[in-house]
């Protein structure tokens, strides 16, 4: 079971509280996790990655196991701890303020 942490605004859109748990077939990658997330919650399509290009939106970041995975190619396998469900795949909005 893959655990995904969504940022506040996307939890509100998807109407979920806390972590999301997804069944994802191996290999577990950014793409396969996000595909499964968008199947479960269609309202999130276009909010994390572009509808057409499937590129990560500029101010969205992906963290896991204390690493920034945002710039990894989308088909790179996620860390074993994420695939095993021991660690979460974290989707978050980049810091901005003022």
């Amino acid at each position: 079971m893959i655990r995904v942490v969504l940022p506040f605004h996307l939890r509100k859109l998807a109407r979920v509280d806390g972590e999301v748990q997804l069944d994802v077939e191996a290999p577990v990658t950014q793409r396969s996790v996000l595909d499964a997330l968008e199947v479960r919650y269609p309202v999130l399509r276009g909010t994390i990655r572009d509808h057409v290009t499937q590129k990560r939106r500029a101010f969205v970041r992906f963290f896991a196991c204390e690493q920034d995975l945002s710039h990894d190619p989308p088909d790179t396998p996620l860390p074993d701890a994420v695939a095993a469900g021991d660690e979460s795949f974290v989707v978050l909005g980049a810091m901005a303020g003022g």
């Binding site: 605004h9 309202v43 276009g46 909010t47 509808h51 057409v52 939106r57 101010f59 901005a96």
Partner: protein, 370 residues
């Protein structure tokens, strides 16, 4: 019992303000979509409880929300806005050509006859249409064919911010774009032509160019849709012929820079603007917030000040942030970048703040409820 519902979009959410026909006491609900930019909300003329909202975020992009109960509850519908075909390029700040990139929806205009049909004005400038209540959106690409390669973004982005549907001429649509100008379609959006003859903009290399003008807003009265009013970057303009040509009607305004323009619900020659000092100083002249009303369709203007701050006021009123209701007397409303929403229940003679401390107001729409 009649009443009014105001739909207020702000930088940090949407608010719904409701009152009975007296328009003295208001209930305020919100923020809806807290933390998101709500550029615009508008209800269907056919089914006023169906309201569309444009929700956007620099992080998570565009969402269209729809309510079926007058703004009490909402459902996210479609958010896929894809330009038709290869969208090509437009002018960029440095004079080069730049590809069209979707950023957000500035304005939603529901159909006059079908609650499932609505139009969305986008940045980068394009017009989209839904026929299924907002679930899917298709571009009307003919608009970009109206010399789109010569359009350019203003400081606020290259946005299609005004959509007017002609109630008398089937298939006639007007739109306005910053900084491209005004455009008209007579075939339901398939083909378009610029309607900017008579505009003069010293901020572009050819002040009388066919396109490139920074039109801030256009307005019409439903009883005379061939007569259009325009607040341009500078200049207030009027057209007697559905935009074929324009004449300046700035008259005795203290400054003819501004953003919104609107028309009295029952008097088609009574119009309202909010003069702003300049394009370099986006606040009211002398720190006095004044709505100006013309009862002659322009040229002769009177300042409306009663109830509005007449000192130390440095807010702006954005292009979509003024609206009128259709009660008798006509109600006039506007919101400011300082978060105030002002209401006049007597066509502008006197004003009162409904609320003072909202986030910066991006848009105000008024629904008259029976």
């Amino acid at each position: 019992m009649s009443g009014v519902r105001l739909l207020v979009g702000t930088r940090k959410g949407a608010f719904v303000l409701t009152s009975d026909g007296k328009r003295e006491n208001w209930d305020i609900s919100g923020p809806h979509f807290a933390g998101w930019e709500i550029y615009h909300l508008k209800g269907s003329p056919v089914d006023p409880n169906r309201i569309y909202a444009s929700q956007s975020s620099g992080w998570f992009g565009q969402m269209i929300q729809r309510s079926e109960d007058g703004g009490k509850t909402w459902e996210a519908v479609g958010n896929e806005f894809v330009y038709d075909g290869v969208p090509g390029t437009h002018q960029w700040y440095d004079g080069t050509q730049h590809p069209w990139e979707f950023k957000r929806v500035w304005h939603i205009e529901p159909s006059l006859t079908d609650p499932d049909i609505a139009y969305a004005g986008a940045e980068d400038a394009a017009l989209f249409r839904t026929a299924d209540g907002g679930k899917t959106w298709q571009e009307l690409p003919g608009l970009r064919g109206a010399k789109g390669n010569l359009w350019q973004p203003g400081a606020g982005g290259m946005c299609l911010h005004t959509i007017l549907l002609d109630p008398n001429v089937a298939g006639r649509i007007f739109v306005a774009i910053s900084a491209a100008g005004a455009f008209r379609s007579d075939d339901a959006g398939q083909t378009w032509r610029p309607i900017n003859r008579g505009l003069k903009s010293e901020q572009i290399p050819d002040p009388t160019a066919e396109v490139g003008h920074c039109v801030h807003r256009i307005a019409m009265h439903a009883s005379r849709p061939g007569i259009l009013f325009m607040q341009k970057h500078w200049d207030v303009m009027r057209s007697e012929n559905a935009g074929d040509s324009w004449n300046e009607v700035s008259g005795n305004l203290p400054t003819d820079f501004g953003f919104p323009i609107d028309v009295h619900a029952h008097e088609p020659d009574t119009i309202y603007v909010v003069p702003i000092k300049s394009d370099s100083e986006h606040y009211p002249p002398e720190g006095k917030l004044r709505v100006y009303r013309s009862r002659t369709g322009g040229n002769e203007w009177e300042a409306l000040t009663k109830g509005l701050p007449q000192s130390d006021c440095y807010v702006n009123v954005l292009r979509d942030a003024m609206a009128v209701d259709s009660l008798d007397k006509c109600g006039v409303y506007f919101g400011t970048t300082g978060g105030q929403v002002y209401a006049s229940a007597d066509a502008g003679d006197t004003w009162n703040p409904i609320v003072r401390d909202l986030p910066a107001v991006l848009s105000v729409e008024a629904q008259t409820l029976s």
